[in-house]
Symmetry: C2
Subunit: 398 residues, 2 copies
Amino acid sequence: MSMNRSILLRLTTGCALVWAAAPTPVLAQAGPEAVVEDFRPSSVNQPGQEYPQVNSQGYVRFRVQAPQAQSVKATLGLGGQGGTELHKAADGAWIGTTSGPLDEGFHYYHLNVDGGVFNDPGTLNFYGSIRWESGIEVPAHDADFYALKNVPHGNVQQILFPSPSTGTQRRAFVYTPPGYDAKAATRYPVLYLQHGWGEDETAWTNQGHANLIMDNLIAEKAARPFIIVMTYGMTNDIKPGAPGGLASFSVKPFETVLVHELIPYVDSHFRTLADRNHRAMAGLSMGGFETKAITTANVDKFAYVGLFSGGTFTVDDVAKTPGFRDKMKLAFVSFGGRELAGRRTAPPGIAPSDPAAEAKALKASGFNSVFYVSPNTAHEFLSWRRSLHEFAPLLFRD
Amino acid sequence: MSMNRSILLRLTTGCALVWAAAPTPVLAQAGPEAVVEDFRPSSVNQPGQEYPQVNSQGYVRFRVQAPQAQSVKATLGLGGQGGTELHKAADGAWIGTTSGPLDEGFHYYHLNVDGGVFNDPGTLNFYGSIRWESGIEVPAHDADFYALKNVPHGNVQQILFPSPSTGTQRRAFVYTPPGYDAKAATRYPVLYLQHGWGEDETAWTNQGHANLIMDNLIAEKAARPFIIVMTYGMTNDIKPGAPGGLASFSVKPFETVLVHELIPYVDSHFRTLADRNHRAMAGLSMGGFETKAITTANVDKFAYVGLFSGGTFTVDDVAKTPGFRDKMKLAFVSFGGRELAGRRTAPPGIAPSDPAAEAKALKASGFNSVFYVSPNTAHEFLSWRRSLHEFAPLLFRD
């Protein structure tokens, strides 16, 4: 498994359209690789914390102090193996290493200490699964595109906007591109960018580095400067402290907040180009499903749409949505490569689908359809960082 | 102890200058009060989390799942009692209630599970003590001044500014008042506002609600709208992951970042009034010591100064600082009432001091000295929320 993965990384580097596992019969017989002892603290550890650590192969090593505990386990591990059991070392700390390397990029996890769920005190916390989780970063070979560099930086600001439909003051984060404050006469297009189920409006900057991705693209002149707005999309159940489940999810309450409350607030408080040709929406996972529902119901409001691991646009979708074919300038669909491999060998009861073929058919019908696959990543944030990095340069290019 | 406190709250409500414990001989003999069973989830719990809870008296009840644990303890408790031991309930959860009510306001804490330090999975995390900690909020009788209300809201934005002296891109948060974006011709004064030791630039908004305090003051026309800038002040040791200790603390590296890097960046990227008469600095605890050192060394840069639980200004301080008496418009000093009680009965080796008398003497000498004591609070954030609330209306009133 572990050698398989490291080979895959080499085979598919820079090749966005290969998502099937390469056959590796010889390597599979070679036995487990040696774990290289070059572990370093994860880049998302808390200040001064030495553990957890990651090595150059992508193995993760945990070290947790709980001298009287009976068992300590980390939920990070290879698929289907139930995480990593830690073992008590001579000094009383619990230590353990994943049984193989993890995919590149960001992963959520937590600890199980004597049957209770706790975060690893070594790491920063990231909101996912309707709770603040521990996180770890396995350095990606292409991490440069979301690195913090010495380039002009845009700002990320928290806004609080009134929402009469929910009776609350709601929070959003707004990325304004470098130069926004200096260029007082310039108006900017806007991308509304949504998180996934169990996450919130902090995800796209904390886990996704959306601001750094844009800073770097703009510095390279690879994308037009635009504003990004990120708000909480789990408006299904608006009772405080009772986030909505997926099964009963209705997009309507969120559509009301986004289209009738947030967009007018942003257009009146920021220097936006407040027309449909300068407004885009994208989202990851559940945020992709929201994006599809909201953009197809509001073709007069949006001209660009992106679904990251959150559904597809078929020829039929476009045909049955009045105005979509004429007015929409782009339908961007992306997945992590490992997600698609799973789709093509769908489990019992789930119809196999082929998003690549659907995107190809849409393009063949004359619609501007773009399909992207993140190499060797699953339903995780590196897929979505890369998706934003591919999507942003295509926006507002008229 | 607990009755003592509830009486104190009544005696001193609205009376900012009473900080000594009122004598309560009769009540002290009355025995422990009954714990009122009206516990509710703390306002800083994670979404959907029922525990920890707080009752109307200020008692805190914890409930933690860790079925195989041998011991679970919360560090929150009454002074000197070593926290609260939890006990295993019939359903396997660990439960416990503080032995008395806590002071009103925000408190940091964490759990000790079988000898290891973990956060309570029920609460949000707040950066303090050089780690992300659990937090709890005991509702304050005067919480209205920092409540999220339906008033115009300013924004809090993350900026990343280049710092040649440390070789890093550094983060700051900038509060811009309501109307900042709409009033493109208006320029604003700036307050530089520092956190305490072990905290970071997130503290004043996450724990302090500085933005909401300002929104509400501005809505009431009680303070002039101004910008607040908050950055990381523990620049003593600039090696990543090795925050400086207090004993070896030198303010110089931070002074360089603040005065020579951040202030010019803010003045060139925001619509500031970029002169000393429109620039203030304040800080809490260690941030107060930094504020005193930096403002006295840069009298040409600042006109207003505030120390919240972080030192005092004496007649001698003013006399020995060239330009201070002529140029500074305000020296504001504040403490939590419980801190001062401690000061006046100083431990062996520490000279007793009387900040109130020092402030009074400074005022008598003809200098604009303002002294404030937060009733019945210790070295904690409610003292500092109230201090900002008292300080802000005094700024930039020329």
